[in-house]
């Protein structure tokens, strides 16, 4: 079969699982990861006893073990109790927990870089600690964390290819199946690489626009 025909024919069969699996997997996991990250960062920033130690252990384990291994444990773990897990659900949970640990460190670092005077000023105008976190510290931390979080999101798009190992038919598994049938490994893997690149490019564009929007308040002349 002609290579070009193959590439054109396979394109929808790769990008459809991309749209149906890779993108939802990324978006849902990353949204959950951010929720986890904010909670874990707040616990550490506020030095909540016991929970801070638990948060440290969580981050230690997640950062210290490979994502692929975490996926396997997540998938085969329930089987030990006779539960047949859904690959997609496991992938969402594992990605969220994994990314949550990294993002928690990013957000915590950025919270700690917000000047202490902001917290004191909040206290002095009579705001509560949660009020100050919500209105003052977290927004500033997110502004500072935005580029790093954008990085994490882009890596996550690519990391979702690992979900192919636990039966999730995302883009990479779809490609591998076509390649296995046609023996045209290189062209097809280049094709899927190109599609990943497109996805990442779109995300990068979003990231830049988001940064410009969030940047309003810390530039002397813009935005007024």
């Amino acid at each position: 079969m002609d290579i070009w025909n193959l590439l054109i024919e396979s394109f929808p069969r790769i990008i459809l699982p991309g749209l149906a699996m890779t993108i939802p997997l990324t978006i849902i996991s990353f949204a959950l990861a951010l929720v986890i990250a904010v909670i874990v960062a707040l616990i550490q920033y506020s030095k909540v006893p016991v929970l801070t130690q638990i948060a440290r252990v969580y981050i230690w384990i997640i950062r210290g073990t490979p994502l692929l291994v975490q996926l396997m444990v997540g998938y085969y773990g329930p089987s030990a109790f006779g539960i047949k897990p859904n690959g997609f659900v496991v992938a969402v949970i594992v990605f969220a927990i994994n990314e949550g640990a990294y993002c928690a460190e990013t957000i915590r670092g950025c919270m700690e870089s917000v000047p202490k005077g902001q917290l004191e000023a909040g206290y002095c105008v009579g705001m509560s600690y949660p009020g100050i976190m919500w209105h003052v510290i977290l927004p500033q931390a997110f502004r500072a964390a935005f580029p790093a979080l954008g990085n994490s999101l882009i890596s996550m798009v690519k990391d979702t290819s690992l979900a192919s190992n636990i039966t999730v038919t995302e883009m990479f598994l779809a490609t591998r199946q076509i390649a296995g049938r046609t023996y045209q490994f290189l062209p097809l893997y280049l094709e899927v690489a190109f599609i990943y690149l497109m996805f990442s490019t779109v995300l990068e564009a979003f990231q830049r626009r988001g940064e410009a929007r969030l940047g309003r308040y810390d530039h002397g002349t813009s935005g007024s």
């Binding site: 000023a121 002095c124 105008v125 705001m127 509560s128 209105h135 927004p139 500033q140 810390d218 007024s224």
Partner: protein, 245 residues
């Protein structure tokens, strides 16, 4: 009538004892200037009064309620802070909020005031410090003097019983200093109780009703402003005045 009475305030950091037993009385309507060389503990004293630093020991009676400055419940501290205002040397405006939001936040988030009412109050106070035209700007777009005026409006908006000023002009150029001092002078005339830690001797002389002179963690001399400047009792005060005026 004493609004604020501090007894035996002691505070030490790792580098040593900064406050060695401060006793202080502020009456309603006083404009008190706190003077003294750098490192004498003026700022630390002010911060202890609002629990920004926790004292080693000491007691404070504020508006009839007595507080232990070395330990107090979060609830009591929060209740106290709602009756006080604080203006920082480095302004500490919320950098992610507009000028207007900086002033309303203490009302809306801190006290549950309706947003519309909070904005009316905020605009009124911004008007008072000459910053109403800049309500939509962000702090980074303002000069230091403008930021400090907004910070004063923020402190005023919650209608505090006392406002603490921690060296409000020390970070400013001389010309910007004037615009901030003018605002504080105007407030002094309106009867708000204020404690102002400052290095501006002429300001202390012209505006304050009482003066406290601190050195090395102790209050060396305190009294009404005229007497303090015209007829200081302590030798050390005389030296300080000679060097600084």
């Amino acid at each position: 009538m004493a609004l604020l009475e501090v007894k035996n305030l002691v505070k030490s950091f790792d580098r040593g004892t900064v406050l060695k037993g401060i006793n202080l009385t502020v009456d309603k309507g006083d404009v008190m200037a706190v003077l003294g060389p750098s490192g004498s503990g003026k700022t630390t004293m002010l911060r202890c009064l609002n629990y920004l630093e926790i004292a080693d020991s000491g007691e404070m009676t504020f508006d009839g309620v007595t507080y232990d400055l070395s330990s107090s419940s979060k609830k009591d501290i929060a209740a106290l802070r709602k009756q006080t205002g604080f203006v920082f040397q480095s302004y500490n405006l919320f950098s992610n909020k507009t000028v207007l939001d900086n002033v309303t936040l203490g009302l809306t988030s801190g006290r549950g005031t309706d947003k519309k009412i909070a904005e009316e109050t905020a605009l009124r106070e911004l008007e008072r410090v000459g910053m109403a035209d800049h309500a939509d700007r962000y702090p980074a777009q303002l000069s230091g003097g403008q930021q400090q005026r907004v910070a004063i409006a923020r402190a005023l908006a919650t209608d505090p019983k006392i406002i603490y000023f921690d060296e409000p002009t020390s970070a400013l150029d001389p010309e910007l200093t004037t615009e901030v001092l003018d605002v504080i002078r105007e407030l002094a005339g309106s009867g708000i109780t204020m404690v102002v830690v400052t290095h501006e001797m002429s300001f202390a002389k012209d505006v304050s009703s009482k003066v406290v002179f601190m050195e090395d963690g102790l209050i060396i001399e305190q009294g009404n402003s005229k007497e303090f400047f015209n007829d200081p009792k302590e030798e050390r005060t005389r030296e300080f005045l000679k060097l600084n005026i």
